[in-house]
Symmetry: D2
Amino acid sequence: MIKVGIVGGTGYTGVELLRILAQHPKVQLEVITSRQEAGMPVDELFPSLRKQITLKFTDPGKAELNKCDIVFFATPNGVAMQQAKALYDAGVFVVDLSADFRIKDVAEWQKWYGMSHACPELVAEAVYGLPEINREQIKNARLIANPGCYPTAVQLGFLPLIEAGVVDMNHLIADTKSGVSGAGRKAEVHALFSEAADNFKSYAVPGHRHLPEIKQGLFSIAKKQVGLTFVPHLTPMIRGIHATLYAKLTKKVDLQTLYADRYAKEPFVDVLPAGNHPETRSVRGSNYCRIAVHRPQDGDIVVILSVTDNLVKGAAGQAVQNMNIIFGFPETLGIEHVPLLP
Amino acid sequence: MIKVGIVGGTGYTGVELLRILAQHPKVQLEVITSRQEAGMPVDELFPSLRKQITLKFTDPGKAELNKCDIVFFATPNGVAMQQAKALYDAGVFVVDLSADFRIKDVAEWQKWYGMSHACPELVAEAVYGLPEINREQIKNARLIANPGCYPTAVQLGFLPLIEAGVVDMNHLIADTKSGVSGAGRKAEVHALFSEAADNFKSYAVPGHRHLPEIKQGLFSIAKKQVGLTFVPHLTPMIRGIHATLYAKLTKKVDLQTLYADRYAKEPFVDVLPAGNHPETRSVRGSNYCRIAVHRPQDGDIVVILSVTDNLVKGAAGQAVQNMNIIFGFPETLGIEHVPLLP
Amino acid sequence: MIKVGIVGGTGYTGVELLRILAQHPKVQLEVITSRQEAGMPVDELFPSLRKQITLKFTDPGKAELNKCDIVFFATPNGVAMQQAKALYDAGVFVVDLSADFRIKDVAEWQKWYGMSHACPELVAEAVYGLPEINREQIKNARLIANPGCYPTAVQLGFLPLIEAGVVDMNHLIADTKSGVSGAGRKAEVHALFSEAADNFKSYAVPGHRHLPEIKQGLFSIAKKQVGLTFVPHLTPMIRGIHATLYAKLTKKVDLQTLYADRYAKEPFVDVLPAGNHPETRSVRGSNYCRIAVHRPQDGDIVVILSVTDNLVKGAAGQAVQNMNIIFGFPETLGIEHVPLLP
Amino acid sequence: MIKVGIVGGTGYTGVELLRILAQHPKVQLEVITSRQEAGMPVDELFPSLRKQITLKFTDPGKAELNKCDIVFFATPNGVAMQQAKALYDAGVFVVDLSADFRIKDVAEWQKWYGMSHACPELVAEAVYGLPEINREQIKNARLIANPGCYPTAVQLGFLPLIEAGVVDMNHLIADTKSGVSGAGRKAEVHALFSEAADNFKSYAVPGHRHLPEIKQGLFSIAKKQVGLTFVPHLTPMIRGIHATLYAKLTKKVDLQTLYADRYAKEPFVDVLPAGNHPETRSVRGSNYCRIAVHRPQDGDIVVILSVTDNLVKGAAGQAVQNMNIIFGFPETLGIEHVPLLP
């Protein structure tokens, strides 16, 4: 059993970590912090956890996080970079679910996130926690930058094409759709039920923070500059990401085989048979990414469909997958939930 | 490991049984029948089960159900009564999730269900599978009539009041609300997204088939006639039942203690602290029934709020709970899912 | 043409007033106030009003409301009572969509609303704007207390029973369900999409502010004390109220005829044929209240089903109906929208 | 007043025509046919039309459609081509909301729609009813092929770019999202609430019937072959289309001015100010198409966002707009509904 702490347990990634870790056979939840809810039993804020978790929220100032083996940050951007260093120095493994350590170019990070980075020296240390790309590095990592929800679905979708070098890298398009939980549990008008239900819209078309993260990821594979148009949309569902990816083929290739082979050994990436269209609900509550590949009318445009649950493979599930890898547990331990359908 | 068969695996209770049984540590899925989909891999119809279940649907005529230890009927009303007898005679345990064996008064059953009963001789044998009332009988049952979704939530809500004899039994009211999955996976106009979304309505106010089932259950506790007004509603969510129950108090009683004591040892009934309002999502995907008790303005009307997931505690989860009891497994084995929230 | 002002045009009742008044043939919109959005074009906040309304929000301090013929308050509780007096004294008609002038017993109001009433002297002047009861008084009113959303649906549902004196007045039950827009356009966690979608719950069971309003209304008809249990629920839809009402019959009566006769001349109350179940979507975007009457199993409990659009008949539409009556316009002028279905 | 008939009044485009025509000041509804519902009052099937429409459905065999001035076909594909000729020959104007007369190349039509065309001789006569392109031809048309929902949103989005000749015509991408009402009111499993809610998926990626319609429309403007990748998605809302369009710029152009100028005089196309993102709800229940233009990071990819209500501008509203043009009524008569928000 390892001792686990969570910083910021009141948001959706926090409660999702709790859902998963409550039944992880190798985990003992030690501490969950929340400044605002300190002293309140976790299951009072989240009655879904009644009979599962008996912890109370601890004031961050009083939490003995350095007695944990691993600490997850499920905090807004800008928090982990303040606190990760002390834990890191104390030998505690850190998985940051926020964006603080994802972008290697600190100046670029500061431009997109609008703040000074408090801990640039750890950015180089951080391993980008996408196991399908970085599994070996994750095994030896002490600080994980857990990928964003869109970047997970988009990178897993594009990966085989880019590794194989079969598409025009200058004009990739990622048309992505997210459930509303991606906006977090903050009280904001645009995320109200009466605003978001029975409605569909794009947002941040001029530029979204996940753009540099995706471009960095694709660049690291392609080893050359990537031209990417990234358009996110808000769709009236709670969970789920659907990425529809477009690229122009530059070489002949058996796409279905390319994808099936690339992900044959990946426990959480599922390549659908030719002709299929993955649904977001087919991964609801699970750590799977399901992918289908199409080449409409046998033309030169390849269309990749990639779905995940933004709170699981796009956040908490992937964080636990990284934890499993770090501690040498079976990679799928505690994250084999069967998707909830209907 | 016990060998399990499912008759009728293409509806929502069927796929929910599959979700649960796929990871039940004592279960080996042997056969799933479907006339219409015979030969199709189960995970082709339900991609949510990919990487979890490799069975194909079997034609009912060719399924060797009598080699199973237990068979679940997840069929429309009228099927199990045709087929249960042969299995029963062969020593196979049967759990019927349909209504065929729920009503002891066969004439009454025939009136509400509009057909002749094909197997009245087994009706008396059948044990009504509500463990919180009938646990001891279930242990020795060979045929379980698994309760309906509304009856489970309503009976668990009224039970302590009726056992204690503290309310007017002539004027009980059950105002109930169900998610749309309660209507099943049949192609019907009224259950279309564009009909049921952003809409709320009652239905079957003159009389719903679950009325005699609930009245029989309450009668079996009260040992006298029960006057019940039962009004079901359709609410635009996928899963969930919310029962709002009204009764007139005839004696002074500490309601919170009454409920807390009654359900103190029940693993799946959760009495909320005084003042709470249970949400259906707090049980989504789980086998819990959460209950809160109110007496508004300290008057003589008690208001009970009872929520379940209609596909779990209201169907497949309760069926597996019954199976666990029958086979002497820990009652919670394989049905301890943490509710999915948000 | 009359000159119309709106105080507080940024909430859902405000934008609904704008939707209706933008095309009302006798109305010229003069001014819409908002402290926070002063200077912003209305159609920038609500793009649905582009090509329909060219006004900008005016700072309340600079708005010349006393040049209007009539002013609507679409403000949170506690605002109209501060400002209505000056307008009233200046001869401007006032329709208050908030609760400030609804309760005649000021002490009772103060208890439920948790503040001192700033203008008790006008409370007696105010006419409760439910035309189906108070049409004659409304004609001569200078200050209208526009009814709440639940109270409209509940009172219209109970009205014929109570006028006829055929039910036990001590044990009325109103089990009501509202769409989420009833919670307003405030940024609050409980009303987020990811909290309210795919979920159903009750709230305020110990006591809701609309309880005294409904009891006052029913008392004014019955001329005796009324025992009412009122339980509101939140349902995952944007608009709509569904009231399910229960009462015990004390006399024999032809319920269908009672209701049909009572509302025969009402333009906005629609009594459905016997056996029907009204859906909230059948009134979506319209000023109708549709009602059906049932007596299940010919017992002594009558069940009334009453649906409205909480933003129209439950707020803005009824406010315009009151305006039409005051100014002697045809009562249906500008509020004859056909419900939007699907 | 003109006499209007509707063939096939029981689907969503049918009831939407009824909603609009019920209050159109120049229209007298004469006849609505339905084989299945013949004899039933229209407002019994659609209670939203109570107090608005008193007609009954007429058996198609008995309907005297040739006494009408204009007949709308709101039928499945393959019906209008059987019946339009007789009406056409009798001098009745025909607006076909199905696909029967949209594709000029009859062989192409037969390939995509999988049936023989019963009336190829009228295909050439039919005018494609997109007023923003064909207004002059519509004025003199006797048979209108009313555009499909996706084609309307996509063509209006691409139109200015193509007319101006500023994009690479070989690699256009249309990533489109539709509400579920686009699937019609047929009882089909995939459109059930429990299948489509809280879910997002693409469909028909290999080829959708609206592809040839869009390509024909774009070709007619560009006068050269168009390479288009068209990917439709189903989104869990009732109404609304959101088209996200991608094209590669080949010339410098002020995109905002290009769009604003092109649509300056169009009553139903609304170009949003730079930087905006249109929401589908901003056109709910209305005949508007709202469009925004983006060039992310000042690159060479232009992103066009185009939203409509699929049942109004994408079907019934546009059909009435065509009727208005044909009869010389003001083009906006009876279709100026303010969108319903929230």
